[in-house]
Amino acid sequence: MNPIHTIDYIRILPELMLTAFGIVVMMADPLLKPGASRKSLGLLSLAGTLAAIAATFCQIAWLHRDPSLADPGWFGMVRVDSFSIFFHLLIPAISAICILMSLEYLDAQNIRSGEYYALILFGTVGMVLMSSAVELVLIFIALEISSISTYILAGYRRRNAGSTESAIKYFLLGSFATAFFLYGVAMIFGATGSTSVLKIAAALGDNPGLLAIAATALMIIGLGFKVAAAPFHVWTPDVYEGAPAPIVALMSTGPKAAAFAVLLRVLFATTSAHWFPLIWVCAALSMTLGNFGALMQNNVKRMLAYSSIAHAGYLLVAFAASNDIGISAAIFYTAAYAAMNVGAFAVVSHFAAGGERYVLIDDYSGLGRRSPLLAFTLTIFMLSLIGIPATAGFLGKYYVFTAALSPSAHPTALVWLTVIGLVNSAVASFYYLRLIVVMYMREPVVAEAPAPATAFMRLALVLAAIATIYLGVIPGKVQDLSMAGARDLSPTGTAVSALPPGMQTTMPVAITQAK
């Protein structure tokens, strides 16, 4: 057994930071007066997420000095590469913004407990670990850490029946889905004699055999549940409706991004020919069911739940393209979706007020007059979700469909998928637009004006809005990193040459390929 070197600790530095802060929050909680606001613990957790981001920058700096950091470490279980670094920056940032929202939300809902913040941190540990783990067993453990934290968080509005229902539903179906994943892991171990993604890729080669294909299918089912892709999406609206709004912001973006990261790692360890039809169907179904489901909703949280199903569908289009452009498009899309969706839920979580009273679309009537900031930022997020140019959502979709139309192994099927996707995004504009319409073009129906947003909430809103615009107008750096990530992930390592030169990066790539 290899000894553990210092460099191994650098490989999991962000995780260590998050865990340490989580434990401190847990220990400090009993020392505070019961029933007092836990704002201080929230700020401490915020520091924890920022520390994780700082730790990731340490990893980048270290990689520049010593490329051997990118070798698999911790007994070959963890690998730091551009791919993992992308998610190590993205996921703690999501958590940070969700914590910012929670600072106001918990007071408004009269929830006074510190574990809430600790659970967010622990959940984040699981999510970031999912992106850097290259060992299926570790991936499973990370998946469980993140899932169990979110199960608990979903039920945090204890006095509310909907919230409890949401937690139980999420827990039961979630464990069921993880079992599928675990079953897949077991079968792939049977097929290849290894649970290391890197070794599996080598062992399978071009002709994986039935057992490995069945295993891939099972893992797609398990992860399909986590990303809320149709036909494994039925839980989403109920769970999102009942869970606390900041937690929905987190779980619709963080675990989703992490599960997509795992899906990318696992799927691209095998050849695309075997899972292409499955992903194609999932993508087409998710986009269509998601968007048409969202058309009929009156509740903003349910609408955004269906919209998140649809967006998982767009992401799967990039998977189906199964080329480097597709991988980088998928990576970019997770960030774009996170920015706009977290922002949208920030508005929802503020506007809902105590007891989450105001969550219907009609409640938003006249918001443009009453609270210009909320209405303006929500408009940006909605336009981005529609996919209007100069927003993150547009560039995300543009990269996805470019990947699908690029030369590939299944050109005709992908052209059809693109058509389905584009028609869907046109349909989708209807229900997003509805929210803008009621905010600006109708008179208020709710008697009381929304309370002014606290400084933290305003910060969360403005950060999410800036991220949405930034990714839509000057996405160069993020795009470079997602390209580098795609290259690191690519099983062949030669796929870079297949890229059209236009898609190659202009700025010096921050992290060189370390293979």
Partner: protein
């Protein structure tokens, strides 16, 4: 200064919008700031014709920088077509600000911010030479316009705004698909207009694919124009929009559609344009006559003007798809004319609405007595729209029709005859409208004391009326820059049209031969359309 002027013209309104956003809610100051910014933009845009090398084809004032990676460029340029459309935009915006001076009194700040953002997007559409950039601006016009209609319009404003948004959004998605397809099959891996032209002209793309791409672009532009039968959003949007919204919608946004047809459908796909010209001309002629007939029976002033737009834009499309230089010259000129005359008509209708709060004809009649100055302005706008010689409308319509007459498109004589009837219909509904509003007895007592238009309103109308006279008598000044730009676009199409005409002759001969020879060639004869498309495209 040559390489920054286009950037300045485009983004000064955006900077202005930002400044307005940060200003305190002092309505008077906001109005004056918006006016000053829009006039400054107009002043800047006046530099374009001054420094433009008239008589030279190709793009001028070009600016080209990398934007996102190497693939997406910030590439702008103006030629004789786009330059004048930009000037039309920058002229209509200050006028729109003036016309909204009093009629907008609620949420003034948001109104002018949206108006200036709309101006930026519209200018950007005309100047973009990178297809990605073009799409960005194209979609960016949508939001401010939909919000202007939805927030400041009349009773059914929300319905109209949503309808406008969805129609345009759904249609432009097809254009996006075509743009992305061309990009992924472009060996240079960029979105340059010229590079796309080369890809399509290279012969590497099959005619069937090109036909789909052509239709992808066509549907986006046809909805915007709007071409029959995709026009149903237009009357709703116009009737519900605030006056400034109507002015810009009719004046500029519709021109984005015809500009797109000319620049992209004809400019990028010469063979497909020639191949599809017949049915597009049929739609254009239906639009001309249908729009005019529906306008004839409107009981509502604004709806009448809206349908007259459908009819007038039919002329523009007819001119473009005559695929002759003369017809297209006329179409471009007609775009400018329509912007000015219909813009003026909508403003005049808006002024009446401010006084009477209705557009119904039955509420008017005999207004020439209390409002003589207003009646004079109205008459000039109506005559310009009718196409009276010495006013601008005449030049455009004449060129369009003579272009169609000389065209090599099949059935062009029929199109010319039917199109010409549209001129007569136009005179009917417009003069009838004038009669119903201004002549006859005053039936409503309160109309006897309607206030005459004031100084601000006169100032806002003067530029448009003066322009319609100047453009009626001095058209060569415009033509010397429009013509080279049009010629360079139409040249290649003209060859394609000729080739297709020859094909048709050969086809007819072979067809008559086939009927005699009988059985052997039957499968060929059974699918003449397909046959034509493949042979036409391979040229």
């Amino acid at each position: 200064m040559n390489d920054s002027i286009l950037t300045l013209v485009t983004f000064v309104p955006a900077v202005g919008a930002l400044a307005l956003m940060l200003m305190p809610r002092n309505d008077r100051a906001l109005r004056w700031t918006a006016l000053i910014i829009s006039i400054a933009t107009f002043g800047l845009s006046l530099l374009l014709p001054i420094y433009y090398e008239h008589g030279r084809s190709g793009f001028q004032f070009e600016v080209n920088h990398n934007w996102i990676g190497q693939a997406i460029h910030y590439h702008m340029g103006a030629d004789g077509i786009s330059m004048w459309l930009v000037l039309l935009t920058t002229l209509l915006v200050p006028v729109s600000v003036l016309v909204s001076w009093k009629s907008i009194h609620d949420r003034v700040k948001e109104f002018f911010v949206l108006l200036l953002l709309l101006e930026m997007a519209m200018i950007g559409v005309f100047l973009s030479l990178d297809m990605f950039l073009f799409y960005v601006f194209w979609e960016a016009t949508l939001i401010p316009m939909a919000l202007l209609i939805g927030m400041y319009g009349h009773e059914r404003r929300v319905y109209a705004a949503v309808k406008f948004f969805l129609y345009t959004m759904v249609a432009s998605v097809f254009m996006l698909a075509a743009v992305i397809w061309l990009y992924t099959h472009n060996p240079q891996h960029n979105f340059e207009y010229d590079a796309f032209r080369k890809v399509i002209g290279s012969g590497a793309v099959s005619p069937t694919t090109l036909q789909w791409l052509f239709l992808g672009f066509f549907i986006a532009f046809a909805v915007k124009v709007p071409l029959f039968p995709l026009h149903t959003w237009l009357p709703d949007a116009h009737v519900e929009a605030p006056t400034a919204g109507s002015v810009l919608l009719a004046g500029v946004l519709l021109k984005m559609g015809t500009y797109g047809l000319l620049r992209f459908n004809v400019g990028l796909f010469p063979d497909q344009a020639a191949y599809n010209s017949t049915w597009i001309n049929v739609l254009a002629v239906i639009g001309i006559i249908y729009g005019a007939l529906v306008a004839l029976v409107q009981p509502n002033l604004k709806k009448l003007i809206a349908y007259s737009s459908v009819s007038h834009l039919g002329f523009v499309v007819l001119g473009i798809f005559s695929l002759t230089t003369i017809g297209t010259d006329g179409a471009v000129y007609q775009m400018l004319n329509h912007g000015i005359s219909t813009g003026a008509l909508f403003m005049l209708a808006g002024m009446l609405y401010e006084r009477k709060h209705t557009y119904e004809f039955k509420e008017f009649g005999g207004l020439a007595t209390p409002m003589p100055v207003y009646a004079t302005f109205f008459l000039l706008a109506v005559l310009s729209s009718v196409g009276l010689p010495l006013l601008n409308g005449f030049v455009g319509e004449f060129l369009v029709l003579s272009g169609t007459f000389q065209s090599a498109v099949p059935h062009h004589i029929l199109f010319t005859v039917l199109g010409t009837s549209g001129v007569i219909w136009g005179a009917c509904y417009l003069l009838w409208m004038y009669q119903k509003v201004f002549y006859g007895q005053i039936h409503h007592n309160e109309n006897k004391t309607l206030p005459e238009i004031d100084g601000r309103e006169r100032i806002s109308l003067v530029p448009l009326v003066v322009m319609s006279i100047i453009m009626g008598v001095a058209s060569p000044y415009w033509m010397r820059s429009i013509e080279p730009a049009v010629t360079s676009t139409i040249e290649r199409v003209a060859e394609a049209v000729k080739a297709q005409a020859q094909k048709r002759v050969i086809y007819r001969i072979s067809e008559s031969a086939q009927t005699h020879i009988s059985a052997i060639n039957k499968p060929n004869a059974a699918s003449p359309v397909q046959n034509d498309s493949t042979t036409g495209g391979q040229k």
